[in-house]
Amino acid sequence: MTDPLGAAPGASSQPLMACQECDLLQRIPPLPIRGEAHCARCGHSLAARPSDPLQIPLALTITAAIVFVVAITTSLLGLSAVGRHASTTIIGGAWQLWQEGETITAAIVMFCAVIAPGFFIVLMLTVLLLAKRAPVPHWGGEVLRWCLHMQPWSMYDVMSLGILVALIKVAQLASVDAGIALYAMGVLAVLLPAIMVSFDAREIWKLVPCENKATASARAVEEADFLASGR
């Protein structure tokens, strides 16, 4: 629970922040480990404090990177019917769609299945490694921003279910066997959300210095600054 501005003037040691969903100004109290703060008005999750916000995500991200390589290189599904065998990989699936003339759909599938998760893993790894030696350079913020944008487009969870449905549909026509990539994808469907849950972006932002050059067009709100403005 947070303090809406003015409700508890004692807890003013924490910086002010605004809820991303309803713009209410409030202060987040110091959180206990595994604690979570919700907006006082709309209930949007403002901040959470995982037990180890940098080490655990780093371990998970390295694992995810290895599993990702396995998932896109090995065979996903094999099919045999009347003495013929065919198998496909994730990229092969998108490529087949491309060859059938569905170029836009193939590009969307490729983006959700390979490009977005790949970028997400690489950028997350970069951010976490940068955070190991503070201060984080200014472009670290840029990297994290792109990383967070890639996250909703990494759809391994949806894809796993999609392949399950495809398997059941095809299983009635021919015998299908699951490849290593299918298991790898199942693991990634769990790993990617796990990285986001164990990761605390606030820890990184704390290490990113604010730009103080004259080029900075806006400036961070200092406490004194805010009080002086007469609210």
Partner: protein, 217 residues
């Protein structure tokens, strides 16, 4: 949420402050008309997402238009040497149901028919309620918005199903599956509604409530 009711809701915008959408830093804009960039992460600062309503309307209307061919045209065509037949989304659901896997039929029905339609209706409702300045039901609307954001990506399900069936079943000349024209429309619907959910600014929901509060004073 908390036991003590907020004395008076004060938003960052009312104080002339902007919360960076990326790093959540509270920043004072350089100029009210041209807020500039976040001093910490370099993201663009905006009081409210720019032209949020117009952009979201455009995306929602485009998605609604694509939703029709996505459901009417065939998703995929199966060709064997004896016959060839095409399936629409509903055809696929019926096929799954008939072949006994009704839990999967239900998942596909929910993910590819009900979720996109529900999303479109929810977004149109949110847009209309904000435009009309509807004051009440903020909590319900905020929850609706969060749900739209959360479930949006699951409609991608059928696109993946078609992709992998097409990739797998290529046993020419015995049997082959081709993607139908609906796949493109369907994928476009999903992407457009996902972007629409991102361009819609949930803070607008609460702004109309705050305006009413001010009029009471």
């Amino acid at each position: 949420m908390s036991a003590l009711k907020p004395v008076r809701a004060i938003t960052a915008a009312q104080c002339g402050l902007i919360s960076c959408e990326t790093c959540k830093l509270l920043a004072r804009p350089a100029h009210p008309e041209d807020p500039g960039h976040c001093p910490r992460c370099g993201g663009e600062l905006e009081f409210r997402r720019r032209r949020s309503l117009q952009r979201t309307w455009a995306l929602v209307i485009a998605a609604a238009v694509c939703y029709i061919p996505a459901n009417m045209l065939p998703m995929m065509a199966t060709t064997t040497f004896a016959s060839s037949h095409a399936d629409t989304i509903m055809g696929g659901v019926v096929y799954l149901f008939a072949s006994g896997s009704w839990p999967l039929a239900l998942i596909v029905l929910v993910a590819s028919v009900m979720v996109p339609l529900g999303k479109l209706i929810a977004l149109i409702y949110l847009l209309l309620s904000v435009q009309r300045g509807m004051p009440g039901a903020c909590h319900q609307r905020a929850r609706l918005y969060r749900m739209v954001e959360l479930i949006g990506r699951w409609s991608m399900l059928d696109v993946f199903v078609v992709t992998f069936i097409v990739a797998l079943v290529q046993l020419q000349p015995l049997m082959a599956v081709q993607p139908g024209p609906a796949v493109l429309f369907f994928a476009v619907v999903v992407v457009l509604t996902m972007i629409a959910a991102e361009t819609f600014d949930p803070r607008l929901i609460w702004d109309s409530a705050a305006n009413l509060e001010n009029e009471d004073d």
